[in-house]
């Protein structure tokens, strides 16, 4: 990663041309679409399956304590998973109502339909093949076919209701994972209560619930329906959104992804590798055995999903860049800031660095800056015109946060580091509040060569960020004002160590310097 302060206005390598096939990120569509036939399909199925769902929950609530405990446990598992899935969608987060619809499809519609369909297809398998096959492999053969079809149908239904919300692969993953999460929550509750009902004399109903929770959630929670439908949803999104690719290629690659989701489900349900759970003397398998069993059967597919989500994130980042490209204010989103938006970890690292340099207020301010920059992209995508008033208001908001950040005092600096530079928001030539460096003595002042004929450079319009070391993970210590005359003392890759009159030296992005003729 370059430490360049290259502003967003510079088209990044590999970024699509402005406006070319750019998704409408900033436009959020309502789920309520009475003119879409799929909306009525959703409503009809919800009415039918909702009735069945309420009946089933009412029956299960007969085991009051176990039923309540089951819901508490599965919600304790589901809430962080939902949050992680939601936040993995780094740029354009999906409308909450559509996400809720995905959860409801998985938990209410798909589970109710799958209950009846699974039983019927298992019975068919027993009749046309053999009861032994149905008994041993039925869950692996019927379960994935029926359940993945019904869950993916939910993703497709949502796509048909709000196609504008499916902008890329990440959206398919998010909606698929949410459908899967809804499914697993309701299915788990059903399993917990079944375990309790199997031992009707049990006074303490929590025992079977905790035992089943241990197996299904602790042992296998990472490798369940969220993973399966995350994969199939991603595959569907590839087919539906990669319009620039040939249909055959889309179907082939997307189909492969869907097949991976179904295969993950089939392997998980199969009796393969049950030797891991072997015990002697009839004792129950240990937690460690269940964990090992889960890792062996589910981890390869979890890694595959992780890789695909990473690729989807890269694709979202490219889209983000294509949206903000052409912004006349180069300091609205600088290149390092753009790079720090590319993942949750990079964002967190950025906030941590800001917190280290300027305290908790700095960390919070950087968090708001990141959110404001993403919001800027949403507005930019929605409005199209860079001169839109809403866009201008967002620019001002970003500048205000940046000024606030710059005004915060340093709270610490590494031993031996140059003295902190006072950051003063000023109005630059582009009406951008820029932090301006006061000439600061360095730990080891390097005299600027004064020999005649030394090539000199000028700081370009808008200024450049300056660092005390060629390390992109550190915060810039100053912004050198435009037209400052500099001498390049050394180069390290794309970095240049520059000196100015007065003996001060900094590291800057050497590519931005303008040779003085």
């Amino acid at each position: 990663m370059s430490a360049s302060t290259e502003p967003a206005a510079h088209a990044p390598r590999g970024a699509p041309a402005p406006g070319a096939g750019r998704p409408a990120w900033g436009v959020q569509t309502s789920l309520i679409q009475p003119r879409q036939p799929a909306f009525w399909l959703y409503v009809t199925l919800l009415a039918i399956d909702g009735y069945l769902f309420v009946g089933e929950q009412s029956l299960m609530s007969g085991h009051t304590m176990a039923w309540l405990l089951s819901w508490v446990l599965v919600l304790a598992y589901a809430a962080p998973v939902a949050l992680i899935v939601y936040r993995l969608d780094l740029f354009e987060r999906e409308p909450k109502l559509v996400l809720a619809a995905a959860l409801i499809w998985g938990g209410v519609i798909a589970t109710s339909m799958a209950g009846h369909a699974n039983e019927a297809w298992l019975s068919i398998l027993g009749k046309v093949a053999s009861p032994e096959l149905a008994g041993q492999w039925g869950a692996a053969i019927v379960g994935p076919g029926v359940e993945e079809t019904l869950k993916l149908a939910g993703v497709v239904t949502l796509f048909l209701i709000v196609p504008g919300e499916f902008d890329g692969l990440m959206d398919g993953f998010v909606y698929g994972a949410m459908v899967g999460l809804g499914f697993t929550v309701v299915e788990d509750v059903s399993y917990f209560i079944t375990a309790v009902a199997a031992v009707p004399g049990t006074v303490d109903q929590s025992g079977p619930v905790f035992d089943t929770f241990l197996i299904r959630v602790v042992g296998g929670g990472l490798y369940g329906h969220v993973l399966f439908t995350g994969l199939t949803g991603l595959g569907f999104a590839y087919i539906a959104t990669r319009r620039s690719a040939a249909l055959s290629g889309r179907v082939w690659r997307g189909g492969l992804c869907i097949a991976a989701g179904v295969a993950a489900h089939a392997i998980w349900n199969s009796p393969l590798m049950e030797g891991i759970l072997a015990t002697s003397g009839g004792v129950a398998p240990s937690t460690l055995q269940w964990l090992e069993y889960g890792v062996v059967k589910g981890m390869p597919f979890l890694l595959l999903l992780g890789l695909l989500v990473l690729l989807a994130t890269r694709s979202e980042e490219k889209t983000f860049r294509s949206i903000v490209v052409g912004e006349p204010d180069p300091w609205l989103i600088t290149e390092p800031e753009m790079a720090s938006l590319r993942s949750l970890w990079a964002r967190r690292a950025g906030r941590a660095a800001a917190g280290q340099a300027r305290g908790p207020a700095g960390s919070r301010a950087l968090g708001r800056l990141q959110a404001a920059q993403i919001e800027y992209a949403m507005i930019r995508s929605r409005t199209g015109s860079p001169m839109d008033p809403a866009l201008e208001a967002q620019r001002q908001a970003i500048r205000a946060i940046r000024s606030e950040l710059a005004a915060l005092p340093h709270v610490s600096r590494p031993v031996g580091a140059p003295a902190p530079v006072t950051w003063q928001p000023v109005v630059g030539p582009l009406l951008v509040p820029l932090p301006v460096a006061e000439p600061a003595p360095t730990a080891e002042p390097v005299p600027v060569p004064a020999q005649a004929g030394a090539p000199t450079y000028l700081v370009p319009a808008g200024g450049v960020f300056a660092w005390d070391a060629p390390d992109p993970t550190r915060q810039p210590i100053a912004v050198l004002p435009e037209h400052t005359e500099l001498v390049v003392l050394a180069r390290a890759g794309e970095w240049a160590r520059v000196g100015a009159a007065g003996g001060s030296t900094w590291w800057v992005d050497g590519r931005l310097l303008v040779p003085q003729l």
């Binding site: 399909l41 032994e132 030797g275 009839g282």
Partner: protein, 210 residues
């Protein structure tokens, strides 16, 4: 800056003054275009759910028919329940299977102290001795098909061929025409429920020959 901002018309380019009208027309086209895929999707869902249920009903279920349990007792297997290969040919006990549920039925060929409850107590003791981890529910006494019957549910961890698993089950004892018969129903955890109705039917079909 040479990039033309997105959405900005280049100099001399006509402005799309009728954009809202075109957008509305586009919306209608989009809704019509989504009708066919929605119908196709509904058909897929119907095929999976209703098609499966219909096909299951249409296919004749194999059945083991009427089986001899010994001591003049017979049982009629419900549709879908077939003899397991290992149990075929035996007369003193039959083992029936449907999907992953197994029902073992056996006439009690020794004297008992008079009612089904005593048979259950014997069965619980035998099961407890033979299984390391087993827990029983409450014992229930309720006539089945007019015959004295007692039943108890259990949950056990069993190990076969080096593999362990949790099993849900029920033990049922019935006295029919002065002869005692014991049933043991078992299925992997969580899969017992769907066999309940069939088992009830089979229990009611137990007859004693004359």
């Amino acid at each position: 800056m040479t990039d033309i901002p997105p959405g900005t018309s280049a100099p001399g380019e006509p402005v799309a003054a009728q954009a809202p009208v075109l957008a509305a027309a586009g919306g209608l086209r989009s809704e019509r275009a989504h009708l066919l895929p929605t119908v196709a999707l509904a058909a897929v869902i119907a095929a999976v759910v209703l098609g499966g249920m219909g096909l299951d009903r249409a296919l004749a279920a194999p059945s083991a028919g009427t089986l001899d349990l010994g001591r003049s007792l017979t049982i009629t297997a419900a549709p879908g329940w077939v003899l397991t290969p290992s149990a075929e040919g035996t007369t003193s006990a039959v083992q029936l299977r449907k999907a992953d549920a197994i029902l073992t039925a056996q006439a009690v060929d020794r004297s008992y102290s008079g009612d089904s409850a005593s048979v259950i107590e014997e069965a619980k003791k035998e099961l407890g001795d033979g299984t390391a981890q087993i827990s029983f529910g409450d014992v229930h006494h309720s006539p089945i098909g007019g015959h004295d019957a007692t039943y108890v549910s259990f949950q056990a961890t069993i190990t076969t061929s080096g593999r362990s698993g949790v099993v849900d089950g029920e033990v049922i004892a019935m006295v029919v025409g002065g002869e005692a018969v014991m049933f043991e129903l078992a299925a992997p955890q969580g899969r017992l429920g769907s066999a309940g109705d069939d088992v009830q039917t089979m229990l009611e079909s137990v007859r004693v020959g004359r």
